[in-house]
């Protein structure tokens, strides 16, 4: 019997139907919603064509949650909500209730237990979160700690809706950028070529695959100290770290030389202009755990400038489109260095082919 148990075969059931996990009012009005409004920051009020209404109370979480925290969130859902929750793409939890009278006590309980209510509309919502030192195999920095430091600083902006438009943030612990496009992103930027442990390369790395992985063809097979290994043309190397995941002996992470860069103006939404990629505007910031004050200073400065200067409904990208890049650097006080002029493929599209100049 024990043997049969041990050989249980996987049931390849795939993604479950979400009907049974959904609040009954959502299920009943699926596809038949009429409009919504936001009675206060952190609360969405949806009205269906049937006349049914639901309130969703949104609260921030730390994403990396211990089971005690998740059970506490469940207790709150059972005692103050209606037993149904969902999570947003940015790790916020939403409590869905059909009874308006439950909204205020629910907010009070969540805030009392340390979960900030907010993240809706034109707020700064929770950072798109990666793994970092806690679990990733190639991280240049931590994610949870950077996120915690940023959100401590932006706590009031999460809980209010005072930004010109929504602000999406992301962090990424290497240049692969798992955090994705955002209005403002913090991403590791390595500044030195990988340090190669030639004793290990032949046994650990599939060398042709590593050679193929390099975006600038800077890696070639070589015999080092009589051992088959790989060498890097350091003049060509752009320090992107692409060789490190398939070949861990090519260590790219460095406590001193792995820096952090800030990017702005990414937008996935099609609203107004087409979706945009974010652009690098600052680099060389130290990987200063556990609180990353230098990163937070620049993040705060950019967001304050945007908040004061952008017009209603302008996302970061819309705002910079209006004021122009020279004024972005002037207003934020960030230095515009030669490294910010694109020379990657397609870069000519990023140069000013006009005499449009704002004075």
């Amino acid at each position: 019997m024990a043997e049969a148990q041990a050989l249980r075969k996987a049931v390849e059931c795939g993604v479950p139907d979400n009907d049974k996990y959904m609040h009954p009012t959502l299920l009943k009005n699926r596809g038949n919603w009429k409009y919504h409004d936001r009675p206060r920051p952190g609360v969405l009020h949806h009205v269906a064509h049937s006349g049914d209404q639901v309130w969703s109370v949104r609260a921030g979480t730390q994403r990396q949650m211990d089971t005690h925290t998740i059970r506490k969130l469940c207790d709150i859902a059972e005692q103050f909500g209606e037993g149904f929750v969902r999570f947003t793409i940015r790790s916020n939890i939403e409590y869905i209730v059909a009874d308006q009278n439950k909204v205020d006590p629910l907010i009070a309980k969540l805030e009392g237990e340390g979960f900030p209510v907010g993240g809706t509309g034109n707020s700064v919502t929770m950072v798109a979160h990666t793994q970092g030192w806690l679990h990733c195999d190639i991280p240049g920095t931590d994610a949870s700690g950077v996120v915690k430091s940023m959100m401590d600083q932006l706590y009031d902006e999460f809980k209010s809706e005072q930004m010109p438009n929504r602000v999406h943030l992301s962090t990424s612990c290497c240049e692969i950028n798992c955090g994705g496009q955002a209005d403002l992103a913090v991403i590791v930027q390595h500044t030195k070529p990988p340090k190669i442990n030639h004793d290990l390369v032949a046994n650990v790395c599939e060398r042709p695959a590593v050679v193929a992985r390099c975006p600038v063809a800077a890696i070639r097979p070589a015999l080092v100290n009589g051992k088959p290994s790989l060498e890097v043309d350091e003049k060509k190397c752009i320090c992107c770290g692409a060789c490190y995941p398939p070949c861990p002996p090519m260590q790219i992470n460095d406590p001193e030389h792995s820096k952090l860069a800030i990017w702005v103006g990414g937008k996935n939404s099609n609203a107004r202009g087409k979706p945009t990629f974010m652009k690098m505007v600052a680099s060389g910031l130290p990987n200063n755990a556990p609180r990353w004050p230098e990163v937070n200073e620049v993040v705060g400065r950019i967001l304050r400038t945007y908040k004061n200067d952008a017009r209603p409904w302008e996302r970061m990208a819309d705002w910079i489109d209006r004021i122009g890049w020279p004024r972005f650097f002037e207003k934020t006080g960030l230095p515009f260095t030669k490294y910010l002029i694109d020379d990657w493929r397609g870069s000519r599209a990023n140069l000013n082919a006009s005499n449009h100049v704002r004075f």
Partner: protein, 432 residues
Amino acid sequence: MAKPMHPTPNLDQLETGPWPSFVTGLKRLAKDKDYVVDVLGHLEHSYQTRKGYWKGGTVGVRGYGGGVIPRFTEIKDESGNAVFKDATEFHTLRVMPPPGMHYDTATLRQFCDIWDKYGSGLIALHGQSGDIMMQGCTTENVQKAWDEINEMGFDLGGAGPAVRTSMSCVGAARCEQSCYDEAKAHKAVINSFLDDIHRPALPYKFKFKFSGCGNDCMNAIQRSDMAVIGTWRDNMRTDDELGKKWFAKHGMNELINDVVSRCPTKALQIKDAGAVRKDGHISAVALDGKQCLEIDNKDCVRCMHCINVMTGALAPGKDKGASILVGGKSHLKIGGLMGTLVVPFMKLETEEDREKLVELAQSIIDFFAENALEHERTGEMIERIGLVNFLEGIGLDVDPHMINTPRTNPYVRTDGWDAEVAKIEAKKKAAA
């Protein structure tokens, strides 16, 4: 009671400040688990030395080639023994959540019970690919935890060169802007590719994402190889009562500055009620007794901005469906790419509609599997071979919706021009 904690002066600083602290959560788990005591020590070591110390390996569950992210410690003493001996392994199980990430509390509690029993007790809701990340498990316990998770009716997600776990927005479940049933499309597509999820054998990863409208809350255009983004073909719907309510609250300045002048295609105009055009492609919403906001739906690109501002007063039309974009990805290796529109519109209302979506996905994945180089994403493959070769490969006709502008250089051999024109004419005739 677990063993005593390691000193964690760096992590301790992440317990201050108002945002919920993951360190406080880990410390609570560490009260009962030696495992988590050492996980905290391991992480503190990273904070002190500013480097990561988990390496990959091979750990899985019976019958699957993916879904588990193996992690083994690299913090060893001089004789090669693990310094944090109760946290030598820290594997993650990637579990696919219900579409829209809806949960009842009983389900969440069940995940907690399983993870207290077999894992570290740390669960990320959710990872960047949309998985429930059950973080921190020993090799020995991976299968046991998986068996119980699978018994709950949940399945593992993708990892490596495989179809990956997908995400869909809250959509039809709660959002008036939803243009198709995202959850049903998500489930229909993903559950058709379970073999490609569980047994990684593609050139590289392949991601689907499902957003119900152009606001693209799932970031589908940039984070998926095949993005399904909702839109509609007929006129925007309007509601005069909600239009008047909006106008009474916000006034003419906001209407002009925030709505009319922000329309990317100048499809909006303010008109006297009597002067609104009567053409079939015009819709209008009342502002007060005298004036209306007129929308020329032929010029509108369904960007969602005016609907976002005047929710309910303006709404997507009734002839809804989705656009399909292909080839979005992040930096590695040629730089970030947005998806390219390959299907301007398809209906997604019935099971047959969804079957057509699955067929399209299948032909794209088949073409990708045949033609992409190792570690090449779909977008990179299209960049290398050209969009037309890709379209011909999957059997889609070219369409001017797919481009920003026609070609701006003459470097193309066009001796097939007349034959192409003849084909287009013949198709027109057949359709007439």
